[in-house]
């Protein structure tokens, strides 16, 4: 199993450009997450999904959009890039049967995004 994969690894965007960060997991996990990590600030949840067709906002959703058309894929869309979106973005997934809640989260390698 490849686990959680993310592309691209690095990207530089100009202000106002748009892009999609890709995330795929091959562990048949139902829960998937997008976090951003700024220096010294820990991980902040952007969006999450508890299953295909279901998405919900996290702590910092403004400026981002997501979709979950399949169990495997959870892309994150930036429509109008701003310097404040310069960060490292991590995708994660977990398997949560029934109502037990989120379990161990498996993280992808991250995408380092710079907006100039």
């Amino acid at each position: 199993n490849a686990g959680v994969t993310q592309t691209p690894k690095f990207r530089i965007l100009k202000i106002g450009q748009s892009m999609t960060l890709q995330c795929t997991q091959d562990m048949n996990h139902n829960y998937m997450y997008w976090y951003r990590q700024d220096p010294g600030m820990g991980l902040k949840l952007i969006y999450y999904s508890v299953g295909a067709g279901i998405t919900d906002k996290g702590e910092v959703p403004n400026g981002y959009n997501v979709s979950r058309s399949t169990t495997e894929d959870f892309p994150l869309r930036l429509e109008l890039a701003a310097p404040s979106q310069t960060s490292v973005y991590f995708c994660a997934s977990s398997y949560s049967p029934g109502s037990r809640g989120t379990d161990t989260q498996y993280f992808g390698p991250g995408t380092r995004l710079t907006v100039l």
Binding site: L45, A92, S96, G101, T102, Q105
Partner: protein, 111 residues
């Protein structure tokens, strides 16, 4: 969501010294998870604590969950350079679908 405070923010030790990071919450936690992130890497799950007063060990790492389930600690005995990284605690939110991460404790170990 939950709020979890981690201290210290940063610690620099000599190899062989012990290290402890603390995670505190003002509310009772259903469980607590610990993750390690090496420099330039991604967070990797270490352990989950669920029961009041629970203590778990992984080689030189000892994890504790407080009796009131409002705090947790990670203690590393005789640190090694391979322990370098940032250690995060994470608490499950009330909806049980998401985690709130602490800001992490960055550990630097000098040989």
């Amino acid at each position: 969501g939950q709020q979890v405070m981690q201290i210290p923010q940063y610690q620099h030790v000599q190899e062989g010294e012990d290290f402890t990071t603390y995670c505190n919450s003002s509310t009772t936690l259903s469980n607590i998870q610990w993750y390690k992130q090496r420099p330039g890497g991604h967070p990797v799950f270490l352990i989950q604590l669920v029961k009041s007063g629970e203590v778990k060990k992984q080689k030189r790492l000892t994890f504790q969950f407080g009796e009131a389930k409002k705090n947790s600690s990670l203690h590393i005995t005789a640190t090694q350079t391979t322990d370098v990284g940032t250690y995060f605690c994470a608490a499950m939110n009330s909806g049980y679908s998401t985690l709130t991460f602490g800001k992490g404790t960055m550990l630097l170990v000098s040989p």
